[in-house]
Symmetry: C2
Subunit: 335 residues, 2 copies
């Protein structure tokens, strides 16, 4: 087998011990409401600014995650975190509060799985026993940073996505749990020339296709090996593109594919083509999907978190949008 170096296999059994998910009002009105650990009914979450609200979401997601595992933050060896805000300020200020040695990461919305991959790498290499990972996004902090002031009320096309307000944390260690981190595939940056930040689903779909194909080829697996292949935030626009790109390679994922950005909101919520943001893949995976895995109704799941690696200045300079997708396969293990 001519395996790429992108797919990582671990010598040790490494597990997700616990997760924490905290979301905002729109997510709490969606179909997954009851799966989240906590929600706020307004975007400020009781804070003075949206940035402080986002920080609170991540801080609380970590606290809930720790509490479920009966651990304290000082027992964590490392914190791997990231978000969408300029200079990763959510994760960095949370790292200040939690006082855990910190690796800051940025791969846009794919940072959720980037963090899980590096957590497993650190543990497998015996550099750590307990690693906390967390990512966040917030509708209002993302709007004012990437798009227009919210007060301006700019119109958007239907291909646009709605940034998920929330944070998902996952604590990773070697202690046995129901959810094993089985393998991971690190993405390459793929850019087929999409230039519109209002069509990120189309921009990111080729990166997801590339990572899924690499993953399946490397491990000599068919799509049907998995009960579910779930992408982070391709939405209603990017998901069909992904399926069609893979079909061109004789890979049919149509029966087992879902997208966190579609799952998190119901069809009658005004979210354009679906949810996006660092938190999107994290809060759906760490609640809805892991809940099904803990019950054993899903046994083999490939989570492919997708990220658009642009900023506003690059769009103004007429650049296209480079994208990346990191895949992690999680496996149900009986208690």
């Amino acid at each position: 087998m001519n395996m790429s170096n992108q797919t990582l296999q671990f010598k040790n059994d490494i597990f997700v011990q616990s997760t924490g998910t905290v979301v905002g009002p729109k997510e709490a009105e969606g179909p997954l409401k009851t799966t989240f650990d906590k929600f706020y009914d307004e975007l400020y979450c009781g804070e003075d600014t949206w940035e402080l609200a986002e920080r609170k979401l991540m801080s609380e997601a970590i606290d809930i995650c720790l509490e479920k595992a009966n651990k304290k933050s000082e027992e964590m060896d490392f914190f791997l975190g990231g978000d969408l805000l300029n200079q990763n300020i959510t994760a960095s200020y949370v790292a200040r509060e939690k006082e855990i040695p910190y690796f800051g990461l940025f791969n846009a919305c794919s940072t959720s799985m980037e963090a899980v991959i590096l957590a497993a790498v650190l543990i497998d290499g015996a550099f750590a026993n307990h690693v906390m990972t967390a990512v966040s996004s917030h509708f209002s902090t993302a709007e004012r940073q990437f798009r227009f002031p919210t007060e301006f009320g700019g119109q958007k096309p239907s291909t646009a996505m709605w940034t998920v307000t929330g944070s998902g944390a996952a604590y990773v260690s070697k202690k046995k749990s129901n959810i094993r981190i089985e393998t991971a595939t690190v993405g390459k940056v793929i850019d087929l020339g999409v230039t519109s930040p209002f069509n990120m689903g189309a921009a990111m779909a080729p990166a997801a296709a590339n990572t899924i194909k690499t993953h399946l080829d490397d491990l000599n697996r068919d799509p049907e090996y998995y009960d579910l292949i779930v992408t982070g935030d391709l939405s209603r626009v990017g998901s069909p593109i992904l399926k069609s790109l893979l079909l061109e390679n004789n890979l049919d994922i149509s029966k087992i594919h879902q997208d966190c950005g579609i799952q998190i909101f119901s069809g009658d919520q005004s979210v354009f083509s679906g949810g996006s943001g660092c938190a999107c893949s994290a809060v759906v995976t760490y609640s809805h999907i892991f809940n099904q895995m803990k019950r054993g109704t899903l046994k083999k799941v490939l989570v492919v978190a997708t990220g658009a690696l642009f900023n506003t200045l690059m769009i103004q300079q007429k650049e296209s949008i480079p994208c990346i997708a990191h895949g992690v396969s999680f496996e149900y293990v009986e208690s």
Copy 2:
């Protein structure tokens, strides 16, 4: 010995194979001019925008680094990169060009050593054989993003720093070279309440002190164990603060401490208190310092890259500046 979990020791011998350093005009007028692989005599580096110039610096630093090791980019298993620009656009667009599976990192100016640490972790755990790391910064891209439009000509206090224009790349593998990555200490976020982005040396000094003390304590070493303890960008303001903080802990580094931000410019260049930026620690370490190690005139060096994890919005919201420092000890190995 009650060792923290912050200090990593590697089971394998891991080496820096080659480095590439490309800098801008002011750096080329400084005392280290002849140590850099390449320089440009104007800030646009022949490109249309400063952002494209910064991207060119990183791309070329990697190319030079690869060429010295007689390697091609497709032989690299992973690329670990970061920069100071919003959403890491320099590293991400370079990752697109180089087509190497990519982990995007952000720990501000300490990203240089964050990347080296994670490269060594990936190799030590047998997840990779060849890892490229690179970071960059650019005076003009940083000015317009973090401060004021350059054309505005705003005044600055003498405690301000001058962002280094340049990029440093380092290729890491298990093949023996003169420079071994011996140990590493991952930093915690430290914030003693400095709120001025024009005094980052003072803000970062406590983080450097914390990492150096942790490193020496963990390994039961005296400062004199090292021929050189070099900080990334504490400048003329932060360096005396670092030394005095360590002296309070009975650690005297005064005879062996240097700061890349002081070394890169001469006293008669107008750079306020000294150089800063992701590239500062990288280009000085990968040229001037490693040159001395290759000659054996420096044998044990601790590089402590320092980073200020803020953004402009946090300053506007009256937040103080959280800082971090990652330390890597490099050891001379005879050929």
